[in-house]
Symmetry: C2
Subunit: 505 residues, 2 copies
């Protein structure tokens, strides 16, 4: 190619602060790196380059010298200057480093990528996704966040966007602790740590408390992310039934027999089954836990999303022995993209979490933390909660009546009093896996029950999220589910009612 | 207290969508939780409450029933209704859970919290901090980011603030891969993963490659965060001198003798010593690495912050065998609060990193990623880099001449050609620890050399950051350092020149 084309349009600026040889070298470098000047291209001799660009010969020499130092050209004495051979492209099909042999062992459970797939599935074409537990994007309070960002950047102290403490932006910790205190929590800012989503809180808990072989009690069913996390840490899971009365006898048996490290529990609007543990059972649980010095991890993402009466006080608020670690998040109340959650725990525990978190990411996003601080300072969260509660309640009721209308008698459920989900049971011998297959055809998705069990249970259960979409889309989703159910149901029924064939004898 | 005060100012709204009993219960709950109505307070009987608030008796009954379910009040038959005893406050001095016995073992090296302290030290009163490696907040391109945020939220698709793939926001990965390709990297978006700061990249590498007892080669001195990370994973560190010619003989000896898992290296504007590995040595290093299938982790936060000629192509760009993992970040080029860095690696490795990252935080901040995407799309980064390079170069030259003027002959250094730091050596028998002590009195901070060594070296070295402050503050910092040095230097010299005492015989 004609090298002078690179320098067309007055791209060299003689009076710039950047020396001319530098400008020449940069322009050539860009063309070499992007292979516009491919390896082996012969470049004009220095004298010629100088003439071509109307610069001094020293300038041309310096430009070439710089490119040579960068490894972009090479000069062969007596032959000339050539574009150097850069690295040959990697052949992905023939890796020269045996990567997988170098990896540390990892757990590849069947469910290990379900979370990622759930996230991916929300964008699948033509499917109404009732799977992922996401608030409705149309309800995100973006107008406020936009305004807050403008205000923020107007009075932004540069240091606000530098590094902040690992435990979180101090004003946010302060206002959050005050908010939690209003909800009966006995916490100070020192007991309150900001994390990158409650997922990270769970990660820190796992890192700090669990060694391979340790026992952890989980509800059955429970949040699938927790099952994955504990399994990946090679913990052994003990299941506590999550329906009906809290089985304290089973729990005490576990405590005596296995001395478990943790109980992971969602007492309020449990994910997936919506159960709320009544106040007396909370007190009984705490009494038993105190007796055995059991550490309780209370995950509470949905506590403020109730559609009737306020739920009972949290375990963390009632905690008489200081053994409850609380997990909270703004992802369900506001939107997941904030990536901001919190952990409440005694200071000793927070300090240890901070040491671990420091390695992971130094600290969570300042931008989100500042914005949330301003949002809470303006006292906007409670108004937002009032409005989403009203809207989600409407959607819950709509989905409930649609499920009755379109999915009976093959599907039954209990009405959730808060949270995001219907936890449904399939009847008439229909299996969730069959339904998943059939529903993909009619165009609706959900989470199969198996995902929420550490064992192989859940074959006839499924979770539907009722908050993500506007009413008509939800209605259409339930209709499609009903269509899939009736295809399966009719098959079952017809096979049941098929007249028996009398063998010819 | 008079309970009617709680309901002053028309706080009950009869025609609200929220039932009256609910409103009454909520108001009482708030006052109970925040102890305005302390435990044991006798509440008015239902009939009296109804009269007081001009509501029906059913409403009063329902309000109390709700509070009882929440565990906030208790009714003693024949005696009345009382505010319940909430959890007694935790006595921090007498923890009932033996937390530290429950923790997994952790490495408590001397340096394990230096990073956190560095971050904290930047806010110490009256001290000019030349310690932390931070860009100057006054140069953050906030005007652009503010405008981009406004634009963003105007056309924001709610899904943008929902969940995104663990590997990062796809458009950002795409534009970043294109940018890196221009710099000679042979990468696609699938080879490029977004992480929460390059710190998290280092964490993922450690998680995925290192088991206790594994060998890792690090430069000596090197980035202290890397020493901490590898030590915390119980890896064994092998030191490669980071000054002068790359000691390939030592490296090969290590490779044969210890079969190390990784070489962690900063070939360009090394932190702390500023060294740039010349192009021929890069090729030689890669040749040796390819021969032994050594995995190289190339950390390159400063490559675009050069104050003279462009540095040579990165190892990742020159990599002939696909064994280099690249780490990059926007923290030094733009600002740390973005918490956004990247890893470049073969797809197999990226996939494994994503599996690990999923547990840690699902994905990095969407807000930062969207903003960065828009910033890069508008092609603003290169202009910003031109302007910070010019400014930082000026500061470097100012600090260099101030160091010569105020700190000679006790301190010597080599002029860095890029990056953020002066790496200085103390002469005349002065120790860094003494200087640190003395400098705290004169009001300036720096990082003592020891922090950058895995062994006990560095007793006479120190790192100064020359970019964070405007010129006059930098000048004052160096003057204060000089003052501290001369106090120590004079003591030393006087002790040297003290006339020897002739013993009386």
């Amino acid at each position: 190619m004609d090298i002078s084309k690179i320098f067309e349009h007055g791209s060299l600026i003689p009076k710039s602060a950047i020396p001319l040889y530098n400008q020449i070298a940069s322009a050539l470098a860009e063309n070499i790196k992007s292979s516009i000047l491919p390896a082996g291209t012969k470049l004009p001799p220095e004298r010629e380059l100088a003439a071509l660009l109307s610069v001094s010969r020293t300038t041309a020499i310096n430009a070439y010298r710089q490119l040579e130092e960068q490894g972009l050209i090479s000069t062969r004495v007596g032959s000339g200057t050539y574009v150097a051979d850069l690295a040959p492209p990697i052949q992905p099909s023939s890796p020269t480093v045996p990567w997988s042999q170098l990896f540390t062992p990892s757990l590849n459970t069947q469910s290990s990528s379900i979370l990622r797939e759930l996230i991916a599935s929300t964008s699948a074409e033509g499917i109404i996704p009732l799977a992922a537990g996401m608030p409705d994007p149309a309800l995100y309070p973006l107008i406020h966040f936009n305004r807050l960002f403008s205000q923020l950047s107007a009075h932004l102290n540069g240091a606000d966007l530098g590094h902040i403490p690992t435990e979180g932006y101090v004003p946010l910790r302060r206002i959050l602790a005050a908010r939690l205190t209003k909800k009966g929590y006995n916490v100070t800012p020192d007991n309150t740590m900001i994390v990158s989503g409650s997922q990270q809180g769970l990660y820190l808990i796992t890192k700090v408390f669990l060694e391979p072989g340790d026992y952890v009690i989980v509800e059955s069913p429970t949040y699938l992310g927790a099952i994955q996390m504990f399994s990946a840490a090679n913990a052994r899971l003990l299941s506590l039934p999550a329906s009906g009365r809290l089985p304290l006898d089973i729990l005490e048996d576990y405590l005596i027999r296995y001395r478990p490290k943790l109980l992971y529990i969602m007492p309020t609007f449990q994910n997936p089954n919506g159960r709320v543990i009544p106040i007396e059972e909370r007190h009984e649980l705490l009494k038993l836990a105190a007796k055995h010095r059991l550490v309780i991890v209370e995950d509470d993402p949905y506590g403020e999303l109730y559609y009737g009466e306020q739920p009972p006080l949290s375990l963390k608020a009632l905690d008489p022995y200081g053994g409850v670690i609380g997990l909270g998040t703004f992802s369900k109340m506001l939107f997941p993209g904030l990536r901001t959650g919190w952990v409440t725990a005694p200071e000793t525990v927070i300090n240890r979490f901070a040491l671990e978190k420091q390695y992971i990411d130094l600290h969570s996003s300042n931008l989100s933390q500042k914005l949330l601080y301003d949002y809470l300072t303006e006292d906007l969260l409670d108004d937002h909660l009032v409005s989403v509660r009203t809207e989600y309640k409407r959607r819950r009721d709509l989905v409930a009546s649609a499920l009755k209308r379109y999915c009976s008698p093959h599907l039954t459920f209990t009405l959730p009093t808060g949270g995001f989900y219907f936890w449904c049971t399939l009847n008439n011998g229909i299996l969730t896996r069959q339904l998943l297959h059939e529903a993909a055809k009619t165009g609706v998705s959900f989470v199969p029950g198996e995902a929420f069990y550490a064992d192989a249970s859940g074959a006839r259960e499924l979770r539907l999220c009722f908050v993500t979409h506007p009413e008509e889309k939800l209605l259409e989703g339930v209709k499609r589910l009903g269509k899939a159910l009736h295809v399966l149901g009719n098959n079952k029924i017809s096979s049941h009612t098929r007249p028996s064939v009398t063998p010819i004898i």
